[in-house]
């Protein structure tokens, strides 16, 4: 049996900006015991792929409740081979804190691909470096970043900075995550000079599932203002506003011309 190659790409202190972010575009809501569950995710994906699922089809994360949970203290608690493919969610609920994103173009970065290939390896095998650091917020932040979960990594970085504003590593991760997420959303929306339009008929808008922040951004879309101008008037941080616009685009509530 191949040894576990839980690919924890060694992350230098300053995160690498040259990674292909699109391929890392992963669900943002990840359980706090992230590293194991992500591994589980990979295992599920692998299983799905084996069953004929295309990677591109895995556009929505299954509900957390449907992921088997792993007790790291009991290596035999979960047998991957008997795990059923996860049920798929049917709809997307638009919320600022839970962005369903899907891998773009089906390409998988090398280190993530290796987790897929090696998923048959015992998941429960502890990593040599699965010391307290891994389960600490700092370690979790690094892991999430390595897995391309920039939203999750940013969330942890921000909470670390709340506790200790002088935490240089968290600050560096936060900044890099913001940059990555900004360029990710921006790339998906196209040029900042593009003009978004609302494509849902006005009388149907109220039947959408939006929160008031998305409602506000939607109200800024007048058919004349560019994405850049909408960001300027949104009163939100550019990252939040782009995230909402991206969600509206994914929901096919708006189109970008």
């Amino acid at each position: 049996m191949a040894s576990s190659t839980r690919s924890r790409t060694p992350l230098p202190y300053a995160p690498d900006l040259d990674e292909d972010w699109e391929a890392f575009d992963r669900p943002t809501v990840i359980p706090s015991t992230l590293p194991n569950e992500v591994e589980q995710d990979s295992a599920v994906m692998k299983k799905g792929a084996a069953a004929g699922f295309d990677l591109d089809e895995l556009e929505l994360p299954p509900p957390r409740s449907q992921f088997p949970t792993i007790n790291t203290e009991d290596p035999l608690a979960f047998d991957l081979k008997s795990a059923a493919p996860p049920a798929r969610t049917e709809s997307i609920s638009l919320s600022l804190d839970d962005v369903p994103l899907r891998p773009i173009g089906g390409s998988v970065p090398d280190h993530l691909a290796s987790t897929l290939v090696d998923a048959s390896a015992p998941l429960h095998e502890p990593e040599p470096d699965s010391t307290p650091e891994r389960t600490s917020p700092l370690g979790e932040m690094r892991d999430r970043f390595a897995l391309g979960d920039f939203s999750g990594a940013l969330e942890i970085a921000v909470s670390l900075l709340d506790e200790d504003p002088m935490n240089a590593e968290a600050a560096s991760y936060a900044e890099t995550c913001r940059e990555k997420l900004l360029s990710m959303y921006a790339a998906k929306l196209g040029s900042m000079l593009e003009i978004p339009r609302v494509i849902v008929p006005p009388d149907q808008v109220r039947w959408l599932t939006l929160d008031h922040r998305a409602g506000f951004v939607l109200s800024c879309i007048d058919g004349y203002s560019s994405i850049e101008e909408i960001l300027d008037v949104s009163g939100m941080s550019p990252l939040d506003a782009l995230k909402v616009l991206h969600e509206l685009l994914q929901q096919r509530i708006i189109a970008v011309t």
Partner: protein
């Protein structure tokens, strides 16, 4: 010949006009609007926003959005108007280094002329885009009650914006100019100006010799369209609270949407009897459910909500006529200025009060800018006969015993001019006298603006009233006031020269001019990059549209497979250049894109 633009630098909205082929014309902005909000904001990213875009985020970024800077311009930090503004403004007003006023936006304090300069710069750009040429001269309007310091501060704002303000004229005068354009009229008119933030009523005598004499002017600098909007907002907020138990004022985004909707509804109600306001997802309830605001408001409701505001304008009109010792019947015409005068109820009330239908021949939003443009054209083109004379906006004089203001040069005196008056000592054996030079129209000296002071010493000891001092006021063509006091017996003399000041030193002004020039250069460069990006993206879109067809054609041929790969590389390189926002690189890559597009089109056309 230089073109001169006319700018109505309003409290809430500004407008720019020019005379083209003898016809005064308002220049629309890029969005097609003829007025531009006089608002300036600095975003979180440090970007400067001016006009409509600043207005659209005025509530969500309230601390860093300046509106109604005109209420502060040329005022001193310790003035009551500034004290009031400090308490009521959403943005931070701080004391400047010379007792002047600064506005703190993000990390930088800006002087008020700098803020106004940003608006003027925007108006200049609108004119330049329209005319396709550089504009450097302007006539700018100010309220009739502005004193010399406020006028000088407005001129400084123009200078910072890269404009030579060749004349400052009174707003009601500009409105009268536009009203009388092409007609040879001599009459007394009332200019009722209800704008977005202020109300002014002015009674003018239009003379045949180019003299527009302001007989009386009054107003309320805190009464305007925004107060009407606020009443509508209150009505919606109350209704929503009744329905859902939620206060929309607690959420800035909700309030921003409500403000925009209230203003829109108000405008619509000038032409329709009722209108619906529909704001989906305006706020989230505690149960994580978004709520909608949907309500119909009628014209009648608006009128009942704002009746007292309209009545306040009438009270001011009544008082102004009394002050000018004029009867309503002496007012021969009423000119309506300001967007709010489109409201039917206001027109009714004005016609009831003045007992005559107001003049409908001028556009209320544009008339002031048009008047300024007419004056600008007249100043540079001799064939234009209409020539306004520069007049003193307020009386000039000195303070005398008992704190009484003694007028030496009356308001509306055309300049250059000089007047003198003889005063005597007020105490026994008085050897010195303090001359306090003031400007204003109030009897009590303390209500007027202090321009400067000096002491005349060496008076002979004598009983009070026996030493005669000749006080001479002179105003030269540049508006510089010189005051001298001379002991007629001894010839002892002291004098002072008063130059209006905006509160900025010449060094500060110079630095601000340089800063604004730099900003204009950066902005132009940024616009060039944006235009290049747009061009490149248009070609990329066309290439992407042709790709499937070309690939299909190439697939059935032995040739051209490399070309496909090369085309993809060219598109990718162009995208990279766009990402970097490098103008030279984008242009270089666009050339490659255009060649690729041409090649693709050729392939497609040959195969069809």
């Amino acid at each position: 010949m230089d073109r001169v633009i006319g700018i109505d630098l309003g409290t809430t909205n500004s407008c720019v006009a020019i005379v083209e082929n003898d016809t005064p014309t308002v220049i629309p902005n890029r969005g097609g609007y003829k007025t531009t909000p006089s608002m300036v904001a600095i975003t979180e990213a440090g970007k400067r926003l001016v006009g409509h875009i600043a207005k659209r985020q005025a509530i969500t970024n309230a601390e860093n959005t300046v509106f109604a800077a005109k209420r502060l311009i040329g005022r001193k930090w310790n003035s009551p108007q500034v004290k009031n503004a400090v308490l009521t403004s959403s943005y931070r007003i701080v004391e400047g280094p010379h007792g002047d006023v600064r506005v703190q936006l993000r990390t930088k304090p800006y002087s008020v002329p700098e803020i106004s300069a940003m608006v003027l710069q925007e108006m200049k750009t609108i004119a330049q885009d329209y005319l396709g040429e550089t504009v450097s001269k302007a006539v700018v309007t100010v309220p009739a009650y502005f004193n010399d310091n406020q006028r000088q501060a407005t001129k400084d704002a123009g200078q910072i914006a890269g404009l030579d303000v060749i004349r400052i004229i009174n707003e009601p005068t500009a409105a009268s100019l536009a009203y009388g354009f092409g007609k040879n009229i001599e009459k007394i008119v009332a200019v009722y100006d209800l704008g977005g933030g202020t109300f002014d009523i002015s009674i003018l005598e239009i003379g045949g010799n180019g003299i527009f004499k302001v007989l009386a002017t009054a107003g309320d600098t805190f009464l305007g369209g925004e107060d009407f909007d606020a009443r509508i907002i209150d009505w919606f907020v109350q209704g929503f609270r009744d329905d859902h138990g939620i206060d929309l004022r607690q959420d800035r985004m909700a309030l921003q949407r409500l403000k925009d909707a209230a203003e829109k509804a108000k405008c619509e109600l000038s032409s329709v009897k009722e209108t619906e306001v529909n704001l989906p997802f305006i706020i989230s309830s505690g149960r994580n459910e978004a709520l909608h605001l949907q309500r119909v408001i009628s014209r009648q409701t608006l009128e009942s909500l704002t009746e007292d505001l309209i009545e306040r304008t009438v009270d001011i009109c009544r008082q102004t006529l009394l002050d000018a010792k004029l009867g309503k019947e002496e007012v021969e015409d009423v000119v309506l200025v300001g967007g709010m005068t489109r409201m039917p109820r206001i027109q009714e009330v004005v016609s009831e009060f003045f007992e005559r239908e107001p003049n409908r021949g001028v556009h209320p939003d544009e008339v002031v800018a048009l008047g300024a443009a007419i004056q600008g054209a007249a100043l540079v083109d001799e064939k234009h006969e209409m020539m306004l004379l520069d007049v003193t906006p307020h009386a000039l004089g000195i303070m005398t015993q008992g704190g009484i203001f003694e007028e030496i040069i009356p308001a509306n005196t055309s300049v250059p001019t000089g007047r003198s008056k003889i005063f005597t000592t007020s105490r026994e054996n008085q050897t010195a006298v303090k001359i306090l030079v003031m400007q204003g129209d109030h009897e009590r000296a303390e209500d007027n603006e202090l321009l400067g002071e000096f002491i005349l010493t060496g008076l002979r000891r004598a009983p009070k009233g026996s030493v005669e001092i000749d006080v001479v006021f002179e105003i030269n063509a540049d508006g510089i006031v010189s005051v001298s006091a001379k002991d007629l017996e001894t010839g002892q003399q002291q004098s002072i020269q008063v130059t209006a000041t905006s509160g900025l030193t010449p060094e500060e002004l110079k630095a601000m001019v340089a800063g604004a020039e730099e900003f204009a250069v950066d902005r132009k460069a940024s616009e060039e990059v944006e235009a290049a990006i747009q061009e490149a993206e248009t070609v990329i879109a066309e290439i992407n549209r042709l790709f499937p067809q070309v690939e299909q054609i190439v697939a059935s041929s032995d040739f051209g497979r490399d070309a496909i790969a090369k085309a993809r590389a060219i598109v990718q390189r162009a995208k990279d250049a766009i990402q970097k926002k490098d103008l030279a690189l984008i242009k270089e890559q666009t050339d490659g894109l255009v060649r690729t597009q041409r090649m693709f089109k050729g392939v497609v056309s040959k195969s069809s």
